[in-house]
């Protein structure tokens, strides 16, 4: 049976040291599904920013709280969801890093980068607590497919 999408999941402790582990896995996945080098670089950064936010702002480095990362490799897009177990927040209340008054703030640019590099970034409160960020990036059709995506499934 041909799978429409594959899922890879990873759970890490709330420690910065584990972020490289997640981005290494991200690189392996984007390489496996043939994102070009430029796209792969920026997906790596979006994932890094989101995981760092989950560790730092979500879980506040609490070793008892994990960060769950799920990569869903679909036919048309890669989706990445990152869940923390913190108090949650409303992203619409965050200061705009492009406001002239905020340009020299030392922090607050991560979400802007995520929104710039991914096709979509959505925030939601998880019903069992914490925040879940879901980001997606469309996959370019393979040249040999000539526009026919039906044969572009992972595992073919």
């Amino acid at each position: 049976m041909m799978l429409a999408e594959n899922v890879v999941e990873l759970t890490i402790a709330s420690q910065l040291e584990y972020i490289d582990l997640v981005t290494t896995l991200t690189d392996n996945i984007t390489s496996m599904i043939a994102f070009d080098e430029e796209a792969a670089y920026w997906i790596n950064m979006a994932v890094r920013e989101s995981v760092a936010n989950a560790v730092e702002h979500g879980n506040k480095y609490d070793p008892q709280r994990s960060v769950d990362i799920r990569f869903t490799i679909g036919v048309d897009a890669l989706r990445v969801s990152i869940r923390d177990y913190g108090e949650g927040f409303d992203p619409s209340t965050l200061p705009d890093p492009l406001d002239p008054n905020n340009l020299l703030n030392p922090a607050g640019r991560g979400i802007l980068y995520m929104r710039t590099f991914m096709d979509s970034v959505e925030y939601a409160r998880h019903p069992e607590g914490g925040m879940i960020v879901t980001m997606s990036k469309r996959r370019a059709p393979r040249q040999t497919d000539e526009g026919d995506h039906r044969h572009d499934a992972v595992g073919n």
Partner: protein, 114 residues
């Protein structure tokens, strides 16, 4: 080590050659500590040579901004040299490209302190 920082002094200007990653945690802290040490020693004419930097995240960009502001507050200047394209992209996205003084030639950067 995520980030290697080599220090050179040319006249009254200190050039920091950065090699590696400036990311949340170790890399950002190293940069902060090095610039703080220079400022405490009275060296506030600083060039960050970013030619060897392979990766910067939002924390690293924030650290560049902080070091720029801290240096300026002491009456000094911190300038950037040899920006890789991707760092330039990150600065452009966050409208920081015009905030920093950016150079592609070391001698021109040094002369700008005169």
């Amino acid at each position: 080590m995520q980030l290697e920082i080599k220090e050179r002094t040319v006249g009254e200007v200190v050039i920091l050659d950065l090699i590696g990653k400036i990311t949340i945690g170790e890399g950002s802290v190293q940069l902060r500590d090095t610039v703080s040490r220079l400022l405490e020693a009275g060296h506030n004419r600083i060039i960050l040579n970013l030619g060897g930097v392979t990766y910067v995240d939002s924390s690293g960009i924030g650290e560049l901004v902080s070091r720029y502001t801290t240096t300026k507050n002491t009456g000094g200047r911190l300038k950037l040299l040899n920006l890789p394209k991707k760092i330039k992209d990150l600065l452009m996205i966050t409208k920081l490209l015009t905030v920093f003084e950016i150079y592609e030639d070391e001698q021109v950067a040094l002369d700008s302190f005169q």
